[in-house]
Symmetry: D2
Subunit: 164 residues, 4 copies
DNA sequence: TTTT
DNA sequence: TTTT
């Protein structure tokens, strides 16, 4: 039985466009690099800003939505859980990865009444918006999000990695 | 000793400008009416939207910041706890109130890169921004936020209500 | 579209046994009264304890599980959302209710290794544990949980109230 | 200014006794290894259990409390934030670490009324409970918590690492 | 790499 | 009463 709670709540901005891949079974696996920053005073009383870069993964339908609507700079609310993985590289060295597996996502940044006249939403509906993305194993490659942690090769993923 | 966790996380939009009041001790008590809406399918399969209106209270310094930066329509992240109160009206009828007592707040809605050219932030710094508000028991009254639940009279509040 | 986040996380103890009812459609609606307490210093520096009594509702399968496993005194983790309702009584007076609608629940209090010898788990599997409860509209009434807020009559509920 | 939300909520059990160290400035840095497990169905429909081992760090006063009251097997609620760190080992290889920096903690597992007669709390007050631990750089080493990720040497820490 |  |  499930035993324990593992919950993460993030609000941050994307450092790059989402990276969308598909498993052999055709399921979307979308990865974003999400920045959250905070300030604290160091021991000398100076303001210190620190930014964490979270690697967030969206699977399945949520992955398609994330890939379609999110863009570099978008502000987003993410809820999910932490997953730690270990891969052994071809050089025999063990590498550790930490992912946030998202199970809820919400785009932020509508215009409030306080906001002045002109335009400017937070996200741009991608061309061809409404329709469900085709399977596109060989789609034009988007720029890979350079997350703080290096990523394992996509070959290491299979449909078994979909966590639900 | 503390026993239990009582935590609320909200992301929503203000239905009205904040209502800022001050206790006799000079502490700010800012109240906002915050909408969160969600959809579900009813038993006939129709999409039904439902909006909850949360009455959120900010005390002290956080109350001053909320009163200064938030405006009707602003999108905001709030973290806090639920507090249930009971007041007996002058007619002898007991009335129940539920408040979210905020202990963290963050304004949302910066411009992402996806957002086009023009202006449009989410909030407007109020005139006289930087300086700390004077004690203003008799300040010009702002429009009262008509929260879902009616509010008890401010006379019912004292410095003892500051929850920390 | 869904707009906003309305999330509640509670860890507390039940003030009474769960109250299990069934809608006409046969869905369980289980209500518990959950205490969370905290301490703060009042303005005279004295420790003040304050307890909030949350009325938490579980629907459907989760309601059956809650009714089966939870008992007065049980410690439980609950995740859900806040719902405000207004009912007009037969006397024409409007009454306001606040519920936590649970969508996740986890019983706490397994025996850690640090805990000494003897018995004592946190919850007691009810007689007839494993099997799904029969429909029991006319089951022997359990003692009603004396939540802080009085409850509207069950007649006011219908299958439409199941929030998903 | 702070920008973003980075919040983690965990409920789990300790895999080992806490590891308490002190910085040169005399501040406690307590590390625990916390297990949260969950089940999902794999693509063949089999129940699969997966356990994440979180490395949770408590600083300062909270670190002293954690070191004093938590024990292997204890069930605990932790709230904090995720912190990613990179250390370059003496072999020149970069290593990545993920920590949960706790800012709230609560022990779980009090005796509910449902729990039978005998003993058995969840945690054991350590001998010498009430008094504040002495500075004990050279205290008898406790068994190191075997977290999923290996730990950097304590020499890599300084008072600057206290995140508040 | 984001954002303010 | 907000927002999309």
């Amino acid at each position: 039985m499930a035993r324990g709670i593992n919950k993460v709540i993030l609000v941050g901005n994307l450092g790059n466009d989402p990276d969308v891949k598909y498993t052999q079974g055709g399921m979307a696996v979308t990865t974003i690099s999400l920045a959250t920053s905070s300030v604290r005073k160091d021991k000398d009383g100076n303001q210190q800003e620190r930014t964490e870069w979270h690697r967030v993964k969206f699977f399945g339908k949520l992955g398609e939505i994330a890939g379609e609507y999110l863009r570099k700079g978008s502000q987003v609310y993410v809820e999910g859980s932490i997953r730690y993985d270990k891969f052994t590289g071809s050089d025999g060295v063990e590498k550790y990865f930490t992912d946030i597996v998202a199970d809820e996502m919400q785009m932020l940044g509508g215009r409030g009444e306080g906001g002045g006249g002109g335009g400017g939403g937070n996200y741009e509906r991608s061309a061809g918006g409404g329709q469900r993305p085709q399977r596109q194993e060989s789609a034009a490659p988007r720029r890979q999000a350079p997350a703080q942690q290096p990523q394992p090769a996509m070959d290491d993923f299979s449909d078994d990695d979909i966590p639900f």
